[in-house]
Symmetry: C2
Subunit: 205 residues, 2 copies
């Protein structure tokens, strides 16, 4: 499944995760927010990070667009580029969660198989993974369109745009489904934090 | 310099680094350990992480061999594969340091240009970067050879091995040069921690 470079021996020196976490009061996990462009993932992710930091929990947002300015700046938007984009985000989230951070990934991640792989590398490594489907319908995303991407795609200036000419595969069994604007942002954040509580990542209320 | 995927807009929603760090008592930085295979990078890196965790500072080791089991498992050992390996490690270290971790990278990182690029993305982003050259001579590395890699390379079973048939470019101006075995591991760790103190990453002793 996961590729391993030839001739590379796993380096096992050092503290266990348990000792690192116990020594610094951390407890890592990944919250994976998937949804169409302009569905509200980034807004929700930022609000979750803010709430967690207010609670004194080290949290960090991995934003798909920002990753494409650095780590994933070499990738395109063809299916292989998208899969690699999601694969790398999943690997980085796993490392950060292992380090003890609560990682909040906001990434379109349109393909179910790639999301399942991100979950698998966490769960196989004993790290909590919470999939949040931000389920704003495409018509509403297109009406919001804060970055003008749908308009550009409709004019033919962008191709391979998820929701326009590239598919989005909705999660079959997300841990949480959030429809921004229905219950309000604070209530949406509450639900994500509750999922972390259930998994022992943040202390009970 | 750094590639940026087409049509991607930087997502700026959310807490500033200052608020994230202040809210959780963190302060990030990257310690970059470079040196020949079997020079002692992993041992030093593990000891630095252990010391920092004892001090209550969230620290995390990014080990080159372990990265090749996950994020960088798709890469080979040709010059392009090595450069991409170091590029990704640098980007991940920068993200983790931005999150507030003290990241300890142990990575052969044989080429000076690739190391300089890793430094640049940190310093351009206001994040401390401490280059540690683990300067064990090749003859001694080959005598130690705990993973049997030099022996395999000498038998022709591995090609592109740094120190055997691929060059190592020593740092011209490392922040710290460590020669394992000369002063003892604890003293070597002290010097790395002192460099973090000088940069305000850990409190004055």
């Amino acid at each position: 499944m996961r590729p391993v470079s030839e001739g590379v021996v796993w380096e096992a020196t050092g503290l266990t995760r348990e000792r690192r976490w116990a020594g610094t009061g951390l407890r890592g996990a990944t919250i994976w927010m998937t949804g169409l462009p302009a569905s509200g993932k980034s807004t929700l992710a930022a609000a979750v990070v803010e709430r967690l930091v207010e609670m004194g929990r080290p949290a960090y947002r991995l934003d798909g667009d920002n990753l494409r300015h650095g780590l994933n700046g070499d990738l395109g938007f063809d299916p292989a580029g998208r899969d690699e984009n999601v694969r790398r985000a999943g690997e980085v989230a796993r490392l950060m969660a292992d380090a003890g951070l609560i990682v909040v990934v906001s990434l379109i991640s349109p393909y179910a198989d790639a999301r399942a792989a991100a979950r698998a590398i966490h769960e196989n490594d004993g790290l909590p993974f919470v999939e949040v489907w931000v389920s704003t319908p495409v018509e509403e995303c297109e009406r919001r369109d804060p970055k003008g991407l749908y308009a550009r795609a409709r004019r033919g200036e962008l191709t391979g745009m998820t929701g326009v000419d590239d598919p989005y595969e909705p999660p079959a069994a997300p841990d949480i489904e959030v429809r921004p604007g229905r219950d309000g942002l604070a209530a949406d954040v509450d639900r994500v934090v509750a999922a972390l509580r259930e998994r022992g990542v943040v202390p009970a209320g």
